[in-house]
């Protein structure tokens, strides 16, 4: 069931009396409980798009629905109440420097009108335990590392038990190791709290690790969208290809492989077939020789996948490819 719906939404900014388009008209459904990624280069419009969800940015046209509520039709006080159902975390954390960790996490509770100090204390303790910061309640943000600050941001965003969590480049300011641990935390929250997560990023690796579906944004237009496995394994648009290539640097080298003999094919294994010796069995049965040019075996979120680029030589090539297709392996011919 869609929890966030964009219906024919577009956005432009007025600069010096001229309308500068930021997002071309688009419609998009984000489903309850999924992790939805929006990937794009800076200036592609992704930070505008994510802010349309809680109406930090108002669309120039179209409608935005959260559940059954039409956000774009709400008066200011009702909109503020709706925003409490949507948590948000930021690239630069945006914590209150003058307040302790505990007070930062308590802030949304107080904003929502909670006055009972004991209740606030209990909820803050629960949240800090959830993000693994129980020992830092009395510290100030300046005393924390980047990863810890983002954990405070996550605890704060979860305080009012939102149904949706928006992540605005949440890991872009973190080192790779910290990024991994923050992404693991977000994935766990998505699983355990059945929370819908929408994230924007410029890193395909973030999408690969935790997203279920992805939309690729290029110059204000959604150029490609679908499940992460489909988009990642078979990118169609040039921008998507570039993002995928950035995540798989060795793949780009294939094109320069010297003196290739025979047909170059890319085989994509998904799920269970990745873990079975299908390739060697089929090649043996059809008496085909192959030479591996490039390849990797990894995971897309929880889905194991393999992608191998190889050359085939021998009379049984076509039959072998047909048999591989039969076994559920996706095959494309790559221009040598």
């Amino acid at each position: 069931m869609p929890v966030i719906r964009f219906l024919d939404v577009h956005k432009s900014y007025r600069v010096d009396g001229k309308d500068i388009p930021a997002l071309q008209p688009f419609s998009l459904d984000i489903v309850d409980g999924e992790v939805f990624g929006i990937i794009g280069h800076s200036g592609a419009g992704k930070s505008t798009l994510i802010r349309l969800i809680n109406l930090l940015e108002r669309p120039s046209g179209g409608r935005i629905l959260i559940g059954d509520t039409e956000m774009t039709a709400l008066p200011e006080p009702a909109l503020r109440a709706q925003r409490r159902r949507i948590g948000m975390i930021f690239q630069h954390f945006n914590l209150l420097a003058s307040q302790t960790v505990a007070d930062n996490v308590a802030f949304p509770l107080r904003l929502a009108g909670e006055r009972d100090a004991a209740k606030i204390r209990a909820r803050v303790a629960e949240l800090l335990a959830r993000v693994g910061l129980d020992e830092h309640a009395g510290k100030y943000p300046s005393q924390l590392s980047g990863g810890q600050k983002q954990r405070v941001g996550i605890a704060r965003a979860l305080a009012n038990r939102p149904e949706i969590l928006l992540c605005d480049e949440a890991t872009s300011a973190l080192d790779p190791q910290t990024t991994a641990s923050v992404l693991d935390l977000l994935a766990a929250i998505n699983r355990e709290l059945k929370l819908t997560i929408v994230l924007i990023t410029h890193e395909m690796d973030v999408v690969r690790r935790i997203c279920d579906r992805v939309a690729v944004l290029d110059a204000g237009r959604i150029v490609e969208s679908g499940t992460v496995a489909d988009v990642f394994l078979h990118p169609r648009h040039a921008t998507t290809r570039r993002f995928v290539a950035e995540a798989l640097p060795e793949e780009a080298a294939t094109a320069q492989a010297p003196a290739v003999v025979g047909r170059v094919m890319r085989l994509t294994f998904r799920g269970a077939t990745t873990l079975q010796p299908v390739l060697s069995r089929v090649m043996r049965e059809h008496g085909v020789d192959f030479n591996l040019l490039a390849g990797r075996i990894d995971r897309i979120k929880d889905l194991p996948y393999g992608q191998l680029t190889l050359t085939l030589d021998g009379a049984g090539s076509d039959a072998a490819l047909a048999a591989l297709r039969q076994a559920g392996i996706e095959i494309e011919e790559v221009a040598a």
Binding site: L56, Q82, F90, L96, L111, R156
Partner: protein
């Protein structure tokens, strides 16, 4: 009567009691005007900030008008402002003289100055923190109360310090037209009657006062800035 060290140092000061009363008058003028300046200047500064271009409640016309008024009040030299404001002062407090008569012009002179300092301090608050509060469903008032003012408190404390010191200078100028205090003493005895002892002592007292204010202010700013 035995001579105290001070009396032997400044033999020409014959009424130490008068000096003490002048000190108290200066402190009263400073305390009263600083309190009112903060009470008026702080909301005015917040208003300037909020209605400024690209801010939470951007209102270019309102901002332009307040800004102009603030600039006009700031560009009139204080001594002139005091004289111009005399009818207003009389209407407000029933006298143009003494501590009471000094406070309205002091406040009208210092509040716009302080408001600008508040506006500048608020602009230093990261936009992202304000956006985060908006995303949490905070109203503009909640953002002012719980985000802007706490986050800008070091800058505001520094602004209060600078304003207090400017007010010390203003109170001394007020002495010239009958507001009393140390400035009045320095002017009447030190300038008009060539009694340099009075001049030296009042100037020394003013220097000490300014030093104390600066030290106190710096301490508060440093404490707020630690986090």
């Amino acid at each position: 009567m035995t001579l105290s060290p001070l009396q032997s140092l400044f033999p020409n000061i014959d009424d130490w009691g008068e000096l003490g009363r002048a000190c108290i008058d200066t402190l009263l003028m400073l305390g009263g005007s600083l309190t009112l300046t903060v009470l008026i200047g702080l909301p005015l500064g917040v208003l300037l900030y909020l209605t400024g271009k690209g801010q939470l409640r951007a209102m270019p016309r309102l901002y332009g008008s307040i800004s102009l008024l603030v600039n006009v009040l700031r560009s009139v030299p204080f001594i002139i402002l005091m004289i111009v404001l005399m009818p207003v002062t009389y209407a407000l407090v029933g006298t143009k003289l003494g501590v009471r008569g000094a406070i309205p012009p002091l406040v009208i002179g210092a509040a716009p100055f302080f408001a600008r300092l508040v506006e500048t301090a608020l602009r230093e608050v990261q936009k992202g923190v304000i956006e985060a509060a908006q995303a949490m469903g905070a109203s503009t008032w909640q953002i002012v109360r719980h985000v802007l003012l706490p986050e800008a408190r070091a800058g505001i404390a520094a602004g209060i310090t600078v304003t207090a010191i400017a007010l010390v200078g203003y109170t001394a100028m007020g002495g010239a037209i009958g507001s009393g205090g140390l400035g009045d003493l320095a002017y009447r005895y030190g300038y008009l009657s060539y009694e340099s002892d009075y001049m030296v002592v009042t100037v020394a007292l003013l220097v000490v006062l300014v030093q104390l204010l600066q030290m106190l202010g710096d301490r508060i700013v440093a404490r707020y800035k630690r986090h």
